[in-house]
């Protein structure tokens, strides 16, 4: 049976893992290569490294960070953040990424999805979408540039377009829930998952075990991504999987 994936996400700035709350207030959380290996060993089904560096200088270290991280990581490894062109993607793939994640650049030029998919296959292209509720209703707008700018686009409509352009998965972040630990936005996730034929990774708001049970059962998520709950206590990951299993969610456990 295909299992639900638990994906560890490492936000990286200038070669260090950091964790922010609702896109602000960064805290240092360690070395990417060490943390990626630790997460894999603890039972993470995949590792995502998101480069959130604001400056070109900080971003220059990315290829080195990716290469070091990929060296001893034998689970799927995705890299995102700051990839604006096919050339940027090639650098990251050649450093050892299995998949890339693109966000703002895909919205600016949707054909970029197709160009990368034609070269590396759709399974290697994740389109990340930052979505925010409109007036608290069940309508969601896509944002870009790390959540700073509105697009005026419906997030689910954009996800469908990204699928049509060749995306292999959608990484869907609820900006309202990100970093709060208040639970995933199941309504957002379910709306998107039911509208698409490709897998949807839920992100933003993962906290206790129940929040993961909810996003898999009610949110119809294919995978769930979380960061801060894993950085400060890796034992959480194994416990989470065992508890999910007890709740009847198919997971890869023991690993």
């Amino acid at each position: 049976m295909l299992t639900k994936r638990i994906i560890a996400c490492l936000d990286v700035n200038a070669g260090r893992v950091v964790k922010g709350v609702q896109f602000e207030e960064l805290r240092d959380a360690g070395d990417p290569a060490e943390l990626a290996a630790a997460h894999s060993g603890a039972g993470a089904d995949e590792v995502v490294l998101l480069d959130i560096s604001a400056t070109r200088e900080n971003r220059a270290t990315l290829a080195d960070t990716v290469s070091r991280t990929a060296q001893q990581l034998f689970v799927p490894f995705t890299v995102g953040g700051g990839i604006r062109s096919l050339e940027d993607a090639i650098v990251v793939f050649e450093a050892g990424a299995d998949k890339i994640s693109i966000n703002s650049a895909a919205l600016a030029d949707p054909l970029l999805i197709t160009r990368i998919a034609e070269r590396y296959g759709s399974q290697a292209v994740i389109v990340a979408i930052d979505a925010k509720r409109i007036n608290g209703e069940a309508r969601f707008e896509a944002y870009v540039s790390g959540g700073r700018n509105r697009t005026g686009l419906d997030a689910v409509t954009w996800a469908k377009q990204a699928e049509d352009r060749g995306a292999g998965e959608i990484l869907l972040t609820s900006m309202d829930r990100d970093g709060t630990g208040a639970g995933f936005d199941c309504e957002l996730t379910r709306t998107c998952s039911e509208a698409l034929h490709i897998p949807v990774i839920a992100s933003g708001g993962g906290g206790n075990t129940q929040s993961f049970v909810d996003v898999f059962q009610n949110g119809k998520a294919d995978a769930a991504l979380a960061a801060s709950i894993f950085h400060f206590g890796l034992h959480c990951l194994g416990n989470l999987k065992q508890e999910l299993q007890r709740a009847g969610i198919p997971v890869r456990w023991p690993c």
């Binding site: 994936r5 689970v75 399974q123």
Partner: protein, 199 residues
């Protein structure tokens, strides 16, 4: 020496990285002369079935067939590399496979999402050399939109909108639909099993 065939598609590097980790003597190549001398051949691959057409053009297809036919050296096809062992694929009707195994690869049932992405469990048949130490129920990582039919050579199957071949094994010919280089410890064990086969 293990020749890892490079057909300019997908992520050949991750297979090489796993072989390096296992301290196997592996070379990434598309030179027919190197293939002709290889003790073992691995055809990795993610991407499109038609990407294998480049092997025809470079003369690698003939070199591989010559080296592995009639009980030749061990061959391992991974993902599209395994699908290529069959006669054809609905993904690329004009592109012939190696035809080492009967049948055509096809898309998944409409009832499930495609691609099939993630960790799914194996249903193993007995006495596979490739799957030694990898019991039924083991989870491995898949990412693919087409799959191969169940055949006599099927060593392990997987269920996703129907049953398909997850691993095949026949004499010196081996194939896996999943990615051993991305399947954690069990995947590394499978690659080690292949590396340790007598030539």
């Amino acid at each position: 020496m293990i020749a890892v065939i490079d057909y300019r598609a997908g992520n050949i590097a991750s297979v090489k990285k796993a072989l390096d980790y296992l301290r196997a003597d592996a070379v990434v190549t598309r030179d027919p002369n190197i293939v002709a001398q290889a003790d073992k051949i691995i055809l990795p691959g993610v991407g499109h079935f038609s990407a294998t057409a480049v092997l025809e053009r470079d003369g690698v297809r003939g070199a591989i067939l010559h080296r592995i036919e009639n009980g030749g050296v061990p061959f391992l096809g991974v993902c599209v590399g395994m699908q290529w062992m069959f006669e054809s694929s609905a993904e690329a009707p004009g592109t012939p496979g190696l035809g080492l195994l009967p049948g055509e690869c096809g898309p998944f049932a409409e009832t499930v999402k495609s691609p099939h992405v993630g960790w799914n469990s194996l249903i193993c048949r007995d006495s596979s050399r490739l799957l030694r130490g990898i019991p039924s129920g083991s989870f491995v990582y898949f990412t693919h939109s087409y799959s191969a039919p169940i055949v006599n050579a099927t060593a392990a199957s997987c269920e996703y909108g129907g049953e398909f071949s997850a691993a095949v094994e026949q004499d010196n010919l081996f194939g896996v639909q999943f990615h051993p280089e991305k399947s954690g410890e069990l995947g590394l064990r499978l690659l080690a099993n292949f590396c340790n086969l007598p030539c």
